[in-house]
Subunit: 195 residues, 2 copies
Amino acid sequence: MANKVKFDRDEVIDKATLLFWQQGFGGTSMRDLQQHLDMRPGSIYASFGSKDNLFKEVIKCYGEQCLQALDRFQLDASGPLVGLKNFIHHVTLGEEEPAQCRLCLLAKTLSELPAEQQELIAAAQQALLLVEGKFEQILLRARELQELSSGADCQRLAKWLQMQLMGLRAYAKSQAGKAELEMMIDDIFTSLKSR
Amino acid sequence: MANKVKFDRDEVIDKATLLFWQQGFGGTSMRDLQQHLDMRPGSIYASFGSKDNLFKEVIKCYGEQCLQALDRFQLDASGPLVGLKNFIHHVTLGEEEPAQCRLCLLAKTLSELPAEQQELIAAAQQALLLVEGKFEQILLRARELQELSSGADCQRLAKWLQMQLMGLRAYAKSQAGKAELEMMIDDIFTSLKSR
DNA sequence: GTTGATATTGAACGATCGTTCAAGTTATAT
DNA sequence: ATATAACTTGAACGATCGTTCAATATCAAC
């Protein structure tokens, strides 16, 4: 059934995502990609056009997968805030991914790219906005279910949460203490509820 | 008085810091440095040994300058927490530095470097630890002056503050809204005091 | 089986990377 | 003035960068 000639685009993008995530955009060479994707340069360029374009697709897929993961954690949890907390646990302390991937790829991208790479920066910012929007949706649902006070400004809380998550994941790279991260996650939700 | 032959080491390191800060370690080539430092490769290598070593000195100086800035803001402020807040205002919203420098160079370095660059990573982590220690000192003084509750765990609060600052500066790169950042800084100090 | 379209291959391009070093320049001491 | 030490210069090295393209392999259609 599987087409042996034309590669599986999704699988290739997943592998590229992992590489870029671990090594950054600038730190990942086309030769790295050739090796890990098991593709020759001509094939990569025929399919994606350029390293920039491949990365743009990676960013887009990564953002979509974040949204999907948020939805998945919502379905599996007893309430919106619990689902949110499980998601945060997963991205900061989850162990299936390599250690280099504790940082959000989108934040890492914004941190790394110079101002000239306008298109890639915009792609990462756009993906982050979508995640923030999903946060807001979830928080709105939490407010409806009275997990948050009825006066909570969910848009503001979503921004706050996004900022917290960026800080948490950056801090995880500087001080790996698992127990401290757990405490901080608890603190984040405590401060979230008291607004 | 000034020696015309031997360059001013501090000035050179400051210029290198700015370059690395704006472009990252990997994104800054020796030729970039040669141009901005107005030094030829031989001179740079005679003085610093390698790009890695130059960067290690940059990291060290940057960390020390952070500590000095924290002290300076303490002296200029009416109280410890006000000085801390002014410092945070300065690093997230200060306009003398280029926009690319909103991120902490140390956090940016940890985000960018691959695991193989063990020495540089350790240098950045060490500098971050010193900053966190200074935070703790300041918070302890705030507790003595009853700006914090007598039961406040200042070591934990220092970690919390470090994490907040990383998040704030990362978020500043994704959503530049100045008013939102102001609000978030207020929120950080509100949550700080209520512990 | 032959044909035409489509996809893959890998050698090669010019540019740029971090780094080296022999030659040249400048300051100091006699 | 001259010798010595200290420092700077810039061409050049091999490696690697992102990318191209003519040659080759594989597919579907007749």
